[in-house]
Symmetry: C2
Subunit: 92 residues, 2 copies
Amino acid sequence: MSESIIYIGNKRVMSYVLMAVMYFQRGDQRVVFKARGRAISKAVDAATILTSRFLPDADVTEVKIGSEKMGEEGNERFVSTIEITVEKHQTV
Amino acid sequence: MSESIIYIGNKRVMSYVLMAVMYFQRGDQRVVFKARGRAISKAVDAATILTSRFLPDADVTEVKIGSEKMGEEGNERFVSTIEITVEKHQTV
């Protein structure tokens, strides 16, 4: 099953929504939005806008949260992460 | 099973973490963090700090995202939401 990963950064939320629409149009069955820190809210926005307004035949199938160590040794800090999987319904 | 809901707002993240610790200490088996919009990132922070540093015997067992209509008729907008469930491991 072909899937793409979209990293959420500083662009506007619609950029990420349209990127996902494009990936699905070219044949991907699954798109994963990944974000850290403050971008987490934007990842949730992107996934809900995508499934509610643009791709009614796709659903959020998994949401994982966690944390990642950032920075150099002696100056590490943890940042929260999210991974949101959106999948197209299986068509028979 | 007793559970508590913690709504994430403008307080510092540690306030919500400690609130959850308190609820578990008084006997709750499950705490659900709920947040909307920009507070979503803080909810993820609270859940990961809680389970990684304060309650090693608890896990994130469910993460749900969605959206809610806000505002009055004619002036509605949608805001993203998250619900993060943290549960204590079953002890035998």
